[in-house]
């Protein structure tokens, strides 16, 4: 560790100076962001007629846009295009400075283009958003402990459930693809950095730019329409909906650009010999997840643009009185919505399959089928969106076709199980925490998957749609499968980013608390749903009391599990047991480079001769 720091110090002279742009960091980002927000709020006095009922909306929208542009300027994101326009190209010294050369811990607070720094920044950001969403989850569950409303009425409760939903969706989208799609994937490809390093920094800081207006929504009256913000109530609800919409459009920019970056890195920057059939499975998952994100996200931006226009410009996309229809929103939202949940699932599955091979000391079972499974899920996910709308009555005759495509998706999903189970089959199971989280994933994902099949059948969906059954289904997939995968990935790759192990005992305690918590909370939620409790109710009828009490107890158990892992990360960052460069004796490239990973990853780009799963095979036996 110390050897590399001395090396960097000698080059310190080369990257000093460079004027105003070098001093921009997260702090100046916030300052300029706030300036932009204030300007945006007060400028409209001159342009818009302040009698109209949409005046407050117009000011809020422009203020939120002011924040985003101000933050981009303050963090240094707009420097690139501005310098390109005027022809002031960056010198090599500038690029090294931007890559965080010789800047120590400061670079984590700056617009840094080193994919490893962006990876750690994504990890911290995902944990912060997960924490915020988690607090809201606990408040919701605490309020639902008995039929009436307690410390929060339906109006505030609606804001909590809306923000809980969106914060968790955003944090899970970036929970695996962010930290490990950025830190690990380029090294696994044998590349020195992402295809577009500055675009990579833009993606990270744009999520930060989106998170601020998203959280502000809670403090300016909140929203009443859930994270799915169905129209036309999204047009009726308070001004919080404007900051929510701008936050989503900003997040869409970040994810679309990240999709472009990921796909380009994997397709064009693999080192010699790293053909597509030798790519680690996690890199394949990042590729498919990135491409699916690039396809799905523009729909979300269009939908939110229409919501903003309806609220503040007097258009009528969604108001039935003047030709609009709520079904337009539902179609546009779910065209993004379902591919998005697979953008969340696939990277987590990729990380878990890597864990399966390393901790069973066995090659990945049926490599090509695994990729086929993931690609099948991604492809089909584009054709299934209207199964969320079976009971909206928008097109009853389309019920059959969407039932077909939705039930077909269970075949590629079945392949994911086959590959996971096939990999641990007759393996030497090394009982470390990552493998235990994988076991948790398999157990939970089977329940999540099967209950999905019930909902794909219209007669059952006519009973189950909009009830707690659906909530339990997608929590089994999001919490039980994706979050378990994300935490397993942290326990697996933590030694690579910090040079220290996460503590095994805390890991076990955290797992068992989370696993038992998930079963208690969401099995009881299945029963609430089967008994007919609708979702998003702040107060419910007495017949649902028992299952809700059990769910609330389970929620506190999950909270305990999450906090134990958080404590584990905080404690182990400095005082964890040193792990060395390849503690798990894994064969993928990121473990074959030193820890901490040098700036350009490889002294010399490696030549690859076989896939990274040659466990138990003689040298080079397998092409």
């Amino acid at each position: 560790m110390t050897a590399t720091i001395d090396l960097q110090k000698t080059h310190a002279a080369e990257s000093s100076g460079g004027g105003f742009l070098r001093r921009l960091n997260f702090g100046t980002g916030i300052i300029f962001g706030v300036i932009g927000a204030l300007l945006g709020y007060f400028l409209p006095h001159h342009f818009f007629d302040n009698q109209g009922s949409a005046y407050a909306d117009q000011c809020t929208v422009i203020s939120a846009v002011g924040w985003v542009v101000g933050f981009w300027f303050g963090i240094g994101a707009l420097a690139g295009p501005f310098k390109w326009f005027l022809g002031w190209d960056q010198t090599h010294a500038d690029e090294m400075y931007l890559a965080g050369k010789n800047q120590g811990k400061k670079r984590y607070w700056k617009y840094c283009t080193d994919h490893k720094v962006v990876g750690v920044q994504y990890l911290v950001l995902a944990m912060v958003l997960l924490g915020a969403g988690g607090i809201l989850a606990m408040l919701i569950r605490t309020d639902l402990i008995s039929p009436g409303t307690h410390f929060v009425n339906q109006q505030v409760y609606n804001s909590f459930l809306s923000l809980h939903g969106m914060l968790m969706i955003i944090s899970l989208i970036i929970a695996v693809a962010g930290p490990w799609g950025n830190f690990v994937m380029p090294i696994q490809c044998g590349a020195r950095d992402m295809a577009f390093p500055r675009l990579n920094a833009l993606s990270l800081w744009t999520v930060v730019a989106a998170a601020v207006p998203l959280l502000t929504t809670l403090f300016i009256g909140g929203i009443q329409d859930g994270w799915t913000t169905y129209a036309p109530i999204s047009i009726q609800t308070g001004i919080g909906m404007n900051t929510f919409a701008i936050a989503i459009i900003t997040f869409v920019i970040s994810t679309t650009v990240a999709g472009v970056n990921t796909v380009c890195t994997i397709m064009t920057m693999r080192t010699t010999g790293m053909s597509l059939d030798r790519l680690p499975i996690f890199t394949w998952a990042s590729l498919i997840g990135g491409a699916l994100g690039l396809y799905a996200m523009p729909f979300f931006a269009t939908a939110m643009t229409m919501t903003i226009l309806d609220r503040s410009a007097g258009t009528s996309f969604f108001s039935a009185d003047s030709g609009g229809t709520g079904w337009l929103w539902e179609n546009m939202f779910w065209l993004m919505g379902h591919p998005e949940v697979y953008v969340i699932l696939i990277p987590a599955v990729g990380a878990l399959l890597e864990i399966a091979t390393v901790f069973s000391r066995k090659p990945l079972f049926s490599y090509k089928t695994a990729i086929g499974g993931m690609a099948g899920i991604a492809g089909l996910s584009i054709l299934v969106w209207a199964h969320h709308m079976f009971t909206t009555g928008w097109a009853p005759q389309l019920g059959g076709p969407f039932m077909l495509t939705t039930e077909l998706i269970s075949i590629p999903t079945g392949i994911i199980f086959l590959v996971a189970v096939g990999t641990i089959w007759r393996g030497n199971l090394w009982m470390k925490t990552p493998l235990i989280w994988l076991m948790g994933f398999i157990a939970n994902f089977i329940i999540g998957g099967v209950t999905g099949i019930y909902l794909s059948d219209i007669p059952v969906d006519n009973t189950m749609h909009g009830t707690m059954f659906v909530v339990a289904h997608f929590h089994y997939v999001f919490v039980g499968s994706v979050l378990f995968g994300a935490i397993g990935a942290v326990y697996f790759w933590f030694p690579k980013i910090s040079g220290r192990f996460l503590d095994e005992k805390l890991g076990r305690i955290s797992f068992w608390l989370a696993f038992i918590g998930v079963q208690v909370t969401f099995l009881a939620m299945f029963v609430s749903g089967l008994r007919g409790m609708p979702r998003r109710y702040a107060s419910y009828q007495p017949i649902f009391e028992h299952t809700n009490v059990i769910s609330t107890i389970g929620a506190y158990i999950i909270m305990a599990g999450m906090l134990v892992s958080l404590a584990n990360i905080i404690l182990s960052w400095r005082s964890g047991e040193p792990s060395g460069p390849n503690p798990w004796q894994s064969k993928t490239l990121e473990w074959l480079v030193p820890t901490p990973v040098p700036l350009e990853n490889f002294e010399v780009l490696p030549v690859i001769e076989s896939d990274p799963y040659t466990y138990g095979e003689k040298e080079g036996a397998h092409a």
């Binding site: 606990m138 308070g238 305990a560 584990n568």
Partner: protein, 272 residues
Amino acid sequence: MKYGRALLTSLLATILGAVVIAGIAVALAHLQPHQNPYSGVVGTTSETVNGQQVSVKHVALSLATYPDSLFTGQPHGANGGAHPDWVSYNHDNLVVPANSIVTITLDQYDSGGALNNSFFGQVRGTLGGTATFSTWGYAGCDPSTFVCTSTAKQSLADNGVKSTLTSNQWPYYSVGHTFTLRSTGSAPALLVSVPLPAVYGDKDGAFYGPQTTPNAIGGTYPIQHTTVTFSFKVKGPGVYQWNCEYPCGVKTGNFGEAMSTYGYMSGTLTVK
């Protein structure tokens, strides 16, 4: 890390988390937008239960609906709170004893128009199924269509005539607000819905008949306003929700802002 220390760390982390959640919950409980409870005048009255006269608790509540939030005795603070221009009831946290008869006298100071659902033109759930509407008529206004042809200036010379009517409905095309109370599922089933007749308004939206002097935001209140009186019986303890079902807000269905916010056109009735 030895097991003991790991267990201690886990316990500490969980307790810390629980404390944070409890802290936020308590803070939120205090930030509840509910105004202080209003229980009106409690007395007793008699009720014939299968032939005999039985004395039962009686509560007299006096509610009011205003065209903005600047009326006296304000629940929204001196300058009308965050939204002085929002329509509002004068209370939102009603508390009545269990198994009592509640009589509400409601002063309605706002103009109105056509309900978007004639269901709410009907008086429902009151004792005897009726309510007593006392309204003011004017020469310049046609009582059958509730439209005033002459302008505001002529209205000053036009002194109103008060009339009282006990009926089980009010024409759906001239309603100012409604008082619609129902159970929230955690209380015995109940529905009380009474239309509140609109005060006459002339073609360009001003009130007809004598009005108070304009307040801070230029709004006035009609002196000759309508009053509605009705009674209903509440059963066991529970929380009931009530709100106005006339689209007097803005945005979608004119049910936005004031209509969708506690403390303005929506509140709770807690039976203790």
